[in-house]
Amino acid sequence: MAEANPEQQPSAGVGDPDEDSPNMIVYRKIEDIVTRIQHETEGVPIRTVKSFLSKIPSVVTGVDIVQWLMKNLTIDDPAEAIHIGSLIAAQGYTFPISDHVLTLKDDGTFYRFQAPYFWPSNCWEPENTDYAIYLCKRTMQNKTRLELADYEAENLARLQRAFARKWEFIFMQAEAQLKIDRKKDKNERKILDSQERAFWDVHRPVPGCVNTTEMDIRKCRRMKNPQKVKKSVYGLTEDAQSQSPVHTHSQPGRKDTKEDVKKEIVFLNSQLDRHCMKMSKVAETLMGYTEQYLDYDPFLTTLEPANPWISDDPSFWDGEASKDPSQQRVRKWGFSLDEALKDPAGRDQFLRFLESEFSSENLLFWLAVQDLKRRPLQEVSGRAQEIWQEFLAEGAPRSINLDSHSYERTSHNLKDPGRYSFEDAQAHIYKLMKSDSYARFMRSNAYQDLLQARKKLETEQGRRTSLEKFTRSVGKSLTGKRLTGLMQSS
């Protein structure tokens, strides 16, 4: 009854699909099931159903499919049978006749089986020209059941824009296809139309549906059959087809030359020279780091005030941005010089401390170089010279202390000033700050006060507010009519 139309036998020679590829193995398994399920005597009852004034040819109910699967594939749980049935549908081997969404339901919904011509094992990769022809064809027919769904109408509009120049050609093809279709018997047409639609439901799915044909575009051109000839569903020749969006960039195979191997040897030697750290030490530092930052990780610690994403209250962010840092923030400055410099408030405090020691030129130099690296190209040269004059030149107002080697290198770099002319000097100054000034900053009264002062202020405030609360509540009950109120509030 539902035998495939002899005109639509799968055509051979698409370009050898690899029979061992995981997809092909699965397709053959599915096809075995699908062939058995359509068997005249051992399969499901496929019949024509009367509906209002017309007939629905060649359908089977979801219940029947599920029952058959359970019996013939020895499945106990109907949920599993539904799952397998849905996977078979999602691949495009069966489809509901009144829905674009390819799943299987265990009820009276009607399903049909896909024609072998449209089976996925034929390695279809239909082009947008084919899809355009199909949608165009649909609009030419005056049948409500063939009206375009919203997403199809959108797709059609998009394709019309994309193929504006050759729309006439597409229109003609659609007409030609329609002519061929019209020659067929009415019932046969109903079946073929639905099978064609199901084919497009696989290759151009409803938005939000799982698309089983999707490939990551980055991996596309490294697919197994790069020489595969792309076939048109409607028999169009190659030059009529649209350009595939996948750029085919062929890489010439590179054989290792002597130069390549020599370079490799140099590289390997440098690798060998490197000292590898012990795993136990590596693990120790990693665990130490995560432990230290545990209190700052919003996924592992509840924050005060609450995480804005959970409470919908953005006051946490206001706190972070303020120049008045919380104790949490101040504590973080102690983790490393990096952390202190990352926080604008930390930078300010550190700078203030250095100024008190008359050694702020180091930090100012470091900040100036950081800023230089972000300047637009035309400003770089001038700014670099200014930095040299301010910090490094003879008699500079904010003279920094560089070792002679770095000084030489920097002076040489300044002949052709660029964003990275001060890299050496900056690294040297950073090391100096880290080992010397930063350590003293941590021990300084200024920092310690900030670290402790927050605590003091908080407890004072705490006492103040609870006192306020008490006096307020006492006041309320005094104005209240009942005496018991006064008793309760104390």
Binding site: R218, Y289, P298, F299, L300
Partner: protein, 338 residues
């Protein structure tokens, strides 16, 4: 015949020596060392925002430094800039080429970069009244899989032409090229001080590069498939990679080798993306099978799942304040979780 073979033999000997040196420092495994650490709590983050606006697969997302703006790129040909906490669309940038694979913000969030199948990295000024293309960098011979700003004037790219590049945005010229991979370069991760960066490629290796002189400093092997995602651990001494071989792996720069593998009992789906929480303890990984797993990075155990997408999770991201994690999917939606 002779000389090439001799050279190859020398290379092989050196490789063996390096392997021996690496094995010699293996006095413990990460798992055993971390066995004493308290288990991370089993967390079940909820989707706090679902951002709807794209009409096709989302391929990439990126958080701005202000921790509120996020940009996403989709094959519907648009970059959408979201004010994520308010849940609103802040800006929309139409692209010339719909095949976008990567998006990123400049540090000021005034510029966005996108790259894709057009082999170009396009930089757009979104601070202006209307988004305006500032520069089109077209020096690559293959798709641009990843792009990261160093500043408002410099950008780093990873490409399907097996190279990475450092470009000056003002002139569009290439300042440095990074040649050593033998497969498409898929992902990048820069250090905070911008002196070095990591790249992951389809040759299953990750490489550490010096940004200034273009030299490959170290190569890390261990994966058996394309490396799709890469990220530094916050201490910037170790990093994690995600691959088509269905595993994530942690490598350490100083130990010069792989130190941990994160693998499901039934490996069935490749890893598309990954993000680390602020302390580095939690690892969020998006997979082909529509899930996003949460791993304890120290112990190598799975401790949670983000379930809610109807298709592949193609990208994830955690803002710099670590307050939430966002996921982007082929189902065209973005979700923000905590």
């Amino acid at each position: 015949m002779g000389e090439l073979d001799v050279l190859k033999k020398e290379a092989e000997t050196l490789k063996a020596q390096i392997e021996t040196a690496r094995k010699a420092v293996n006095d413990a495994t990460m798992e055993s060392a971390a066995s004493g650490v308290a288990a991370a709590p089993r967390i079940q983050p909820k989707a706090r925002r679902t951002l709807k606006g794209h009409t096709a697969k989302i391929y990439a997302l990126y958080w701005a430094l202000d921790n509120k703006l996020m940009v996403s790129g989709s094959q519907d040909g648009k970059l959408l800039v979201w004010d994520t906490h308010a849940g609103n669309l802040a800006n929309c940038v139409p692209l010339k080429s719909a095949w976008v694979m990567t998006v990123s913000f400049s540090p000021s969030a005034g510029l966005v970069a996108s790259g894709g199948l057009d082999n170009m990295c396009t930089i757009v000024n979104i601070a202006a009244e209307k988004p305006k293309t500032l520069r089109e960098i077209d020096g690559h011979d293959g798709y641009v899989a990843s792009s990261r700003f160093l500043s408002e004037t410099e950008i780093l790219t990873a490409s399907g032409d097996q190279t990475c590049g450092l470009w000056d945005i003002e002139t569009g010229k290439q300042k440095q090229s990074f040649l050593n991979h033998v497969g498409d370069c898929m992902c990048l991760a820069m250090t905070q001080d911008q002196t070095t960066f990591l790249s992951g490629a389809c040759d299953s290796s990750a490489k550490l590069w010096d940004i200034r002189d273009g030299q490959c400093k170290q190569t890390f092997i261990g994966h058996t498939g394309d490396i799709n995602a890469i990220s530094w651990m916050p201490n910037e001494k170790a990093f994690i990679t995600g691959s088509d071989d269905c595993t994530l792996r942690m490598f350490d720069i100083r130990a010069d080798q792989e130190i941990m593998v994160y693998q499901n009992a039934q490996p069935t789906a490749g890893v598309t993306s990954l993000s680390l929480s602020l302390s580095g303890r939690l690892l969020f990984a998006g997979y082909d099978d529509f899930n996003c797993n949460i791993w304890d990075s120290l112990k190598g155990e799975k401790i949670g799942v983000l379930a809610g997408h109807d298709n592949r999770v193609s990208c994830t991201g955690i803002p710099s304040d670590g307050m939430c994690v966002s996921t982007g999917s082929w189902d065209s939606f973005l979700k923000v979780w905590n």
